[in-house]
Amino acid sequence: MHSLKSWRYPAKWILFRTDDRLLLIFIAVIVGICSSLAAILLNRSLIAILSWLHPFRQIWWAFVLPGIGAAMSSLFLEKIVNEGAGHGVPEVVYSVSRYGGLMRFRSSFSRLISSCLTIGSGGSAGPEAPVVMSGAAIGSNIAKFFSLNDRQRVALVGCGAAAAISSIFNAPIAGMIFSMEVILGEWSSAYLIPIAIASVAGTEVSRILQGNQIVFSHRHFDIDLMNIVVCLGLAIITAAASILLTRMIKYMNGKYGKAPVPLWMRAALGGCTVGLIGLFFPVVLGEGYNSIHMMIEGVFAQGFIIVVLAAFLKILATSLTLGSGGSGGIFAPCLVIGSFTGLAYHRGLVLLWPSVSWVNEGCFALLGMAGLISGMLQAPMTAIFLIVEITGGYEVILPLIIVSTISTTFCRYIESASFYLKDLTEKGHLLRPRTDARVLTELNVRELLETDCIGVKQNMLLRDFINIVKKSHRNYFPVEDEKTGHFLGMIYLDDIRPYLFNPGMYDAVLLGQIMDINVQTVALDDDLTEILDIMDINHLYSMPVVADNKFAGMISKATLLNQYRKELMVQAND
């Protein structure tokens, strides 16, 4: 029985006892394989559902299919697994930020099923974010199973996310970078190594089961300086499209959120509207990879106006799907909208300057995809490497860098955080390592409590108090009620100095008469960020902590700074 139990504690194995990096690498392989299998499962299920429903797409009532899928997805999440809608990436980042990557087991499959229903039925969303959540939850639960610590668990959450992206796009570098840039928000070798291993494992499993295929076929593009210069304009347009998509999703979310109908009905309504759009513009339905193929190949025949309209309708369809409660991510829609934007931009250039020899429009479709991903995720590295890997060519690397970085920069001017992190940032829940907010979250009032203050009673004479002052090295004293022990106020030596040097007052003044009763106090469970704000506003260096009406101790900026430095050093060494 003992040997059976010990296998759940690999940190105790002789092999891993000396260096936990080996342990992480070993478990990263397991996480990578499991996440990759989850991604492949979703991919295969999507293909199966899409081909099963394909014959029905031509029928006039096919517009209800996305509505039925979205309603089923919503019912599944709400009634069966008791989870909220959405793509789940903010939940992953939140768990990494605040709870050392702890995630529920159900998250490892819930979004796979719900997004399969939404996207398979024709909803405009992508399977990537649900797969990221699933992979991250798999990593977290494997870490939990092996009783790993917070730091190791966070690394495995990153491994799961990286392997999922690597597997779904057959793009190991993009997976690694996405995980470091978006999920963990830091570049440290402690995380990089297991994440790289998980990406390799995930990609290899995908290649074994699905073949080593590039997602979008590689074409040769001759890019000259002129083409690179005009990319600046494309960067700005893709940034504008990113902001429009972000705001449209938020707007739809708000509108549908106020509708006085059950969640599944909202999702159905949104899905049916998408279905209606899809009757006239089928390119907006589903993940939309077929359209991207055509655009990169340069065989997307429709003219400038139709391409622009398709881009707008895809933005609308994605907003309706995700805003109404459908399940899925924005990765694939970004790629589709980006390629439409790039294509439209190219056709606009050709219209304006027909004599210039522009590079093939497929190249601009690629650059548009990078611009949209960079703008929405505010993660330029992820966008650059993703496009390079999914197209298998480095020729476009220079304009890719320009479009990605400029698009990110413009988006940052207007949107303070990426689509994934916007809500977390607004609520103050994004706690990246080694930031002020993260360090303060790791500390609490209890561990900063200074308990060496001497309490005094309100009926004590000033003469008796002077004897206490002689023994104390503090210049503040909490005053407590004689009977109940309740905190009544504080005596600060600076405030009562005139009485101290007047012996005539020694037997005439009681402490209750000279104490400060308008003292700002804090509670044991108050946030340190809020406490520091109060201190700054009121120009205070220390404050009394009161619990259950009783004085518990003092909290001071000096002690806080001391602990802050220690915590910062711990995080820096991780």
Binding site: R98, L102, M103, S147, L524, D548
Partner: protein
């Protein structure tokens, strides 16, 4: 600082009974009560190595307008000032995170199933997971309000049973009530239990604080449970044995809670007791 008990309030007659139990526990042990009046039927509890989603039934959202008033009324009857918990963090917009840094938590027999299931005979899977992950012991109340005037610790010699014994000593010190130790001794088990007491340096406490140590060497465990005083707070350790053994033979915790109707204080494997 006072010990803190966490209570999820349900604004129904059944919820009132449970709150009376918590209030009584606090009045006897000197703990403060932290009441959570749920606004959603779901919430998360993040423990050191697990996150548990609690799915409450709709009865927990009954008459939210009068919930605070009713809870205050019940608690104030024992001259205890209630403290109401408002979640500060949310994993999702309708999924609050409830803090886990308490010293005790009160659970009905099951907090994730319908009220009709709450009674003798079933500890919900969520409650079991809380017991397994929490650093605090869980107070599982009897179906109706029942005061207790003694403490009974089930001590079988396991690590969790030692923790239960230490908790029993702690409650005895706080309440000054009689403390009984109950051991079902199988072959050679009596000596093992005594050795454990010696090994854990608890001999002095056993002598000073335990009023009676009943060792049953004969009879079935279920039959001997009749000897447990009906008005006693039963303290026991959970997860003392392996998962497989629990599945095959059933756990002691499940046997006890399905046989006796007393209030139970269950100590999980992560509880770190000090004597």
């Amino acid at each position: 600082m006072e010990a803190q008990l966490f209570h999820i309030f349900r604004n129904t007659p059944l919820g009132r009974e449970t709150l009376f139990q918590s209030t009584y526990f606090c009045s006897k042990t000197g703990a403060a009560i932290n009441i959570y009046v749920p606004e959603f039927t779901k919430f998360l509890m993040y423990f050191e190595n697990d996150v548990i989603q609690i799915n409450l039934d709709e009865s927990y959202l009954t008459a939210p307008g009068s919930a605070l008033e009713h809870a205050t009324e019940v608690v104030m009857q024992k001259n205890i000032k209630p403290k109401f918990i408002k979640p500060k963090h949310f994993t999702a917009s309708t999924l609050p995170d409830i803090p886990t840094g308490f010293d005790f938590m009160c659970c009905p027999r099951s907090i994730s199933d319908l009220s009709s299931k709450i009674g003798i005979g079933y500890i919900g899977p969520r409650v079991r997971r809380i017991v397994k992950s929490a650093r605090f012991p869980v107070l599982i109340t009897s179906p109706v309000y029942k005061e207790w005037s003694s403490i009974t610790v089930f001590f079988g010699g396991s690590a969790n049973a030692v923790n239960a014994l230490k908790l029993g000593f702690r409650i005895k010190r706080a309440t000054k009530m009689p403390l009984y130790i109950f051991t079902q001794a199988e072959k050679g088990h009596k000596k093992t239990c005594k050795d454990v007491i010696k090994h854990e340096n608890l001999e002095k406490e056993m002598e000073q604080l335990a009023d009676r140590w009943q060792i049953f060497e004969k009879g079935k465990f279920e039959e001997n449970l009749y000897k447990v005083p009906h008005d006693s707070l039963v303290v026991l350790g959970a997860y003392g044995h392996g998962f497989i053994k629990d599945i095959v033979f059933g756990s002691k915790m499940e046997k006890i809670q399905s046989t006796v109707s007393n209030n139970l204080l269950i100590v999980g494997p992560n509880y770190t007791a000090t004597v």
